[in-house]
C-alpha cells in the first residue's frame, strides 16, 4: 500500500474491498430493472405488481428538499440497483456452500459466520450488496417457531405474513426514497416472533456495500406477535470509495398486543475522507407501529459513519398503553452531516414516549436533531419526555436542534429540554492531571456524555460502540 492509502486505512478500518465476481442488473432505473430484480429473486407475481405500483408512483414524486444537509443531485440512471456475488446467486443451502471469500470478508469485519465460532448467542444474517449470504442459528430458532431469514426467502416461503405486513407501516408512496426502495429493494432481513415467544438470542444483520456505483436498498420487516419479545441489531460498513454511494433502506416494525421490539443500530458506513470526498448517503426510513395494546418499540442508534445521515426512526403509538423510545448518539466529524431524530405519534390512550438524543459535532461537520412529538386528540393521558443535548468540538462545526411539538389533548403532558455546550477546559485538565492524554480524555468525557444511550445497547455492542465513539472523534481536539 502507498503511504497515503495506509493513512486512509487507519482512519476507517472497514475500508477494504473484496475482489469478487458479481452479477449486476443493467445500469439505470426503469421498469425492466424492477422486473430484473423481481425475476432474479424468483418472486411471485404479486410481489412484482407491488414493486411496479411503487415504481409508477415514483414518477410523480420529487426528492424532499427540506432537510438541512443539501447534497448534489443524484443521477438515478447512473446507478446499479442490483449487485450480487456470483457464487450466491442461487442462495446457498448451508454455510459450507458460502464462498470462502465472503466468509473471510465478514471475518475481517469481526463477524464470524461459522457457527462453531459463536458470537455469544447472537444469530447473524449477513447481507452483501444486494443479497443475503448467510443466516446463522436457523435451526435453533426454527424450533421455537421463530422465522429469521432473508426477506427474499420470506417472500417465497411466508407470503401470507409478508403480504399482510409489508408496506403496512411505511406505505409504498410515503416519500421519494421510501417509494424508490419499495420498487427496487433487493434484500434484508425478515423476522417473525410467534405469539408468546421470547427470542432466546439477539438477532443481528450485518450490511456490507462492496460493489462500486451501486445503491443498496435493503428492506427489513420485523413482526412481534402477541406477547413476544425480540432484540435486533444491525451493523453496517462499506469500502472507501471516492464516489458517494446511496443507501436507502426501509425498516418496518410491527408490535402486536403486549409485544416488545428492541432495535439497535451501529451505523458505521464509510464517512468519506478528511476533505469530505466520498462516503455513503444514508437516507433511511425506519418506522415502527405499536399496533397492539401494551406494546413497546425501542430504537437505539449509534450513528458515526456516512457522509450524510438522514433518518428518523419513528413510532406510531396506536395501541393503548403502548410505549415508544428513541435513544440516539450521532457523531459527525470532518465534513460529515447528519439530520436525524424521531417522530412519536401518539394515537392511543396512555401512550408514552421517551427521546434521548446526544449529538456531537467536530471538524467541519453539521449535526441536526429534528424530531416530532404529536399528541392527537384521542390520546388521553399521553406522556412524552425529550432530552436533546449537543456537544460542539471546535469552531467550524454546527449543532442544531429542531423539535416540533404538537399537542391537541388537554390531558397530555409533554416535556422537552435541550442544551448545547462544549467540553470544558477544566474537565480536560482534570483528566490530563490524572495521566490521561488528550484523546483518551475526550473519549472518556464524550462517552460519559453519551452514557444514557450506550446503556441501552446489548452488552457486546456497547463495548464496540464505546470504542467507535472514541475513534470517530480522533484528531478533533488539538
Amino acid at each position: 500500500m502507498k503511504q497515503q492509502e495506509i493513512e486512509k486505512a487507519k482512519e476507517y478500518k472497514y475500508g477494504f474491498t473484496t475482489d469478487i465476481e458479481s452479477i449486476r442488473a443493467p445500469k439505470g432505473l426503469n421498469e425492466d430493472v424492477v422486473r430484473f430484480i423481481s425475476n432474479i429473486k424468483k418472486e411471485p407475481e404479486w410481489m412484482l405488481k407491488w414493486r411496479l405500483k411503487a415504481f409508477s408512483r415514483l414518477k410523480n414524486l420529487k426528492e424532499p428538499d427540506w432537510q438541512k444537509p443539501k447534497f448534489p443531485k443524484i443521477d438515478y440512471q447512473d446507478l446499479y440497483y442490483y449487485s450480487a456475488p456470483k457464487s450466491v446467486t442461487d442462495t446457498p443451502k448451508s454455510l459450507d456452500e458460502v464462498d470462502p471469500k465472503l466468509i473471510e470478508t465478514y471475518k475481517k469485519l469481526g463477524i464470524p459466520l461459522q457457527e462453531q465460532k459463536k458470537l455469544s448467542g447472537i444469530a447473524v444474517d449477513a447481507v452483501f450488496d444486494s443479497v443475503s449470504v448467510a443466516t446463522t442459528f436457523k435451526g435453533e430458532l426454527t424450533k421455537k417457531g421463530i422465522i429469521f431469514c432473508p426477506i427474499s426467502e420470506a417472500i417465497r416461503n411466508h407470503p401470507d405474513l409478508v403480504k399482510k405486513y409489508l408496506g403496512s407501516v411505511i406505505p409504498i408512496t410515503d416519500h421519494y426514497f421510501a417509494t424508490l426502495n419499495s420498487a427496487v429493494f433487493t434484500d434484508g432481513s425478515f423476522v417473525y416472533i410467534p405469539e408468546g415467544v421470547r427470542c432466546p438470542m439477539e438477532l443481528s444483520t450485518y450490511f456490507r456495500i462492496n460493489a462500486s456505483e451501486t445503491g443498496q436498498f435493503e428492506r427489513t420487516l420485523i413482526i412481534a406477535d402477541k406477547g413476544s419479545y425480540v432484540s435486533y441489531l444491525e451493523g453496517c460498513t462499506a469500502p472507501m470509495r471516492d464516489e458517494n454511494q446511496l443507501h436507502a433502506a426501509n425498516v418496518e416494525l410491527v408490535a402486536l398486543d403486549d409485544a416488545e421490539i428492541k432495535y439497535s443500530t451501529v451505523q458505521n458506513w464509510y464517512p468519506g475522507d478528511k476533505d469530505g470526498k466520498g462516503g455513503i448517503y444514508n437516507f433511511v426510513t425506519k418506522r415502527g407501529a405499536c399496533r397492539g395494546k401494551n406494546s413497546k418499540i425501542s430504537w437505539t442508534q449509534v450513528e458515526t459513519g456516512s457522509a450524510i445521515t438522514w433518518k428518523y426512526p419513528s413510532c406510531i403509538l396506536q395501541g393503548d398503553n403502548s410505549v415508544g423510545e428513541f435513544y440516539s448518539i450521532a457523531i459527525t466529524n470532518n465534513h460529515q452531516k447528519a439530520d436525524t431524530g424521531t417522530k412519536m405519534i401518539h394515537l392511543g390512550k396512555n401512550t408514552k414516549s421517551k427521546i434521548i438524543s446526544k449529538g456531537i459535532s467536530a471538524g467541519f461537520a453539521d449535526n441536526t436533531y429534528r424530531g416530532l412529538v404529536k399528541i392527537t386528540s384521542k390520546a388521553n393521558n399521553a406522556r412524552n419526555y425529550t432530552q436533546c443535548d449537543s456537544l460542539l468540538m471546535g469552531n467550524e462545526c454546527g449543532a442544531h436542534t429542531i423539535p416540533y411539538i404538537e399537542n391537541k389533548n388537554s390531558t397530555a403532558n409533554i416535556e422537552h429540554e435541550a442544551t448545547t455546550s462544549k467540553i470544558s477546559d477544566e474537565q480536560l485538565f482534570y483528566c490530563n492531571q490524572r495521566g490521561l492524554n488528550q484523546e483518551e480524555a475526550v473519549s472518556l468525557i464524550v462517552n460519559g456524555f453519551c452514557k444514557e444511550v450506550l446503556q441501552q445497547l446489548p452488552m457486546e455492542f456497547a463495548v464496540e460502540a464505546q470504542k467507535l465513539v472514541g475513534i470517530s472523534l480522533e484528531g478533533s481536539v488539538g
Binding site: W66, S377, S390, L392, M393, G394, N395, E396, C397, G398, A399, H400, T401, I402, P403, Y404, I405, E406, N407, K408, N409, S410, T411, A412, N413, I414, E415, H416, E417, A418, T419, T420, S421, K422
Partner: protein
C-alpha cells in the same frame, strides 16, 4: 381573492422608484399568494386558509378622509406621550412630557414623497422573506418614522395608538413604523390596538428598530381587546453594542395574531429579552415566532412564553436562536410553557437552536400539559371551588411572566388589562 392593485397604484403614484418597488413587490406577492402551511414558517398558521374562511371580499385599504379618532379610547390615569395612527395612517403626536428638540417625528407618507428621505429607508423595502412582506412593500402608504437623539431618555412611556374605524371594514391595511434610538438613549414604548364597532379587518404591519450603543428600548405589545381583527406584525431589530431590547407581548384579544420578531444582536454585549403570555379562548389563533440572531460575541438573549388555551383556540410558539461562528460566549435561553385546558384546543411549539460557535451556553425547554391535579386538590382542600382553584392557578401561571416587566407603571397597566381579560374567561 381579488386585490385591486392597479387601482391602488394609480391613485398613489409618486416617486418613480417607489412606484417600481410597488409593482415589483406586488408581482412577488401575486406569484406566491398568501402564505400556506406548506411553508415551514407558516406551518402552524395557514394564512391563506384563514383569510379564505373569514373574508369574502378582502380589499386594499386606500386611505380615508376621516382624521377624527375616538378620544375615549385613550388610556386613562396613565401619564404618557402619544402617537395616533388611524387605520394605519399617521394622525398626530404629542410629547408633552419630553424635550421635543430631541425627538424627530415624521409621517411615513411625507417621507415617501421626498426623494432624499426615501433613499434613507429604501433598503427596508427589499426584504422578501415572505409574501406578506412583499404585499406590505407594495401597499404601504403611511406610518411613522421616529428618531431619538443621542443621550436622551424619555421621562414617560410612549403609546403608539393603532385605531381602526368603520372605513377599514373588510380591508387589508398596510403600514410601516421606523424607530431609531441614538447612543445612550432610552425609550419605553407601548403598541396599543383598538377598533370601533367590532369591525373585521386585516392589519399587516412592519416595524424596524435600530438600537444604537448603550441604548435601551422597552417595547410592550398590548393586544388585549377582544375583537374581530386579523393581524400580522413583523418586527426587525438591529442591536448595537451594550444595547438592550426588552419586549413583552400581551396576546389576549384579536381573532388572529401572528407576531414575528427578528432581533439581530450585531455587536458586543447587546441583549434581547422576549417574554409574553397568551390567554386564548373561543376560536382565537395566536402565534409568536422569534428569531434571535447572535451575530457577535458576548451577547445574551432570553425568552419566556407562557400560554393558556381554552375552547377551540390554537396557540403556537416558534422560537429560534441562531448563533453565528463569530458569536462566542453567547448565552441563549428559551422556555415555553403551555396549559391546554380544553379538549378542542391545541398548542404547537418549535423551539429551535442553530449553533455554529462552540463556546456557548444555549438551552431551551418546552412543556405542555394540564393543571396539576395535586395543586387543585390542595386549593380545594382549603375551601376553594374547582373553578376558583383553576382560575387561581392559571392566573399565577401567567402572572409569573407579567412579573418580569421592568417598567413599574407599565406593569400596573398590563396587570389591570390582564385581570379584565381573565375575568371574562371561563377556565
Amino acid at each position: 381573492m381579488n386585490l385591486k392593485f392597479e387601482e391602488f397604484q394609480k391613485s398613489n403614484l409618486g416617486l418613480k422608484e417607489l412606484d417600481n418597488i410597488r409593482i415589483k413587490s406586488f408581482k412577488k406577492f401575486e406569484i406566491q399568494g398568501f402564505p400556506t402551511k406548506k411553508q415551514e414558517h407558516w406551518k402552524y398558521t395557514d394564512l391563506k386558509n384563514i383569510i379564505t374562511n373569514n373574508f369574502q371580499n378582502l380589499q386594499i385599504f386606500n386611505g380615508s378622509k376621516n382624521l377624527v379618532y375616538n378620544n375615549k379610547l385613550i388610556i386613562k390615569n396613565f401619564e404618557h406621550n402619544k402617537i395616533i395612527l388611524l387605520n394605519g395612517s399617521f394622525i398626530e403626536s404629542s410629547f408633552i412630557y419630553e424635550d421635543e428638540k430631541k425627538i424627530i417625528i415624521k409621517s411615513l407618507k411625507s417621507i415617501l414623497e421626498n426623494k432624499n428621505d426615501f433613499n434613507k429607508i429604501k433598503e427596508y423595502f427589499d426584504d422578501d422573506q415572505n409574501s406578506m412582506l412583499s404585499l406590505n412593500h407594495a401597499l404601504t402608504n403611511d406610518g411613522v418614522v421616529l428618531d431619538i437623539e443621542n443621550n436622551y431618555s424619555f421621562n414617560k412611556p410612549l403609546v403608539v395608538y393603532n385605531f381602526f374605524d368603520k372605513t377599514a371594514e373588510n380591508k387589508i391595511i398596510n403600514n410601516k413604523i421606523f424607530i431609531s434610538l441614538g447612543d445612550k438613549s432610552n425609550l419605553c414604548m407601548i403598541d396599543f390596538y383598538r377598533c370601533e364597532n367590532n369591525i373585521k379587518y386585516f392589519n399587516n404591519t412592519i416595524h424596524n428598530y435600530t438600537i444604537k450603543k448603550n441604548a435601551t428600548l422597552k417595547k410592550y405589545n398590548i393586544n388585549d381587546s377582544l375583537d374581530n381583527s386579523y393581524n400580522y406584525n413583523s418586527v426587525k431589530i438591529k442591536s448595537y453594542s451594550n444595547s438592550v431590547f426588552e419586549n413583552f407581548l400581551l396576546s389576549l384579544g384579536p381573532n388572529l395574531i401572528k407576531n414575528e420578531i427578528h432581533c439581530n444582536l450585531l455587536e458586543n454585549y447587546s441583549s434581547c429579552f422576549i417574554n409574553g403570555i397568551m390567554l386564548l379562548d373561543g376560536s382565537q389563533h395566536h402565534e409568536l415566532k422569534t428569531n434571535v440572531n447572535h451575530k457577535y460575541e458576548n451577547c445574551k438573549s432570553s425568552q419566556l412564553i407562557k400560554s393558556v388555551l381554552l375552547d377551540k383556540s390554537n396557540g403556537t410558539y416558534q422560537g429560534k436562536i441562531y448563533v453565528d461562528k463569530k458569536a462566542q460566549k453567547t448565552n441563549g435561553y428559551q422556555l415555553s410553557k403551555a396549559l391546554i385546558l380544553s379538549e378542542n384546543s391545541a398548542f404547537n411549539s418549535k423551539p429551535e437552536l442553530e449553533i455554529y460557535a462552540d463556546d456557548v451556553k444555549c438551552s431551551h425547554g418546552s412543556t405542555t400539559g394540564n393543571i396539576d391535579e395535586n395543586s387543585i386538590f390542595y386549593l380545594m382542600s382549603r375551601g376553594l371551588t374547582k373553578d376558583q382553584a383553576n382560575k387561581m392557578i392559571v392566573e399565577g401561571f401567567l402572572n409569573e411572566v407579567i412579573e418580569t416587566i421592568t417598567d413599574p407603571n407599565v406593569k400596573i397597566l398590563i396587570s389591570s388589562l390582564f385581570n379584565e381579560r381573565i375575568n371574562k374567561v371561563n377556565v
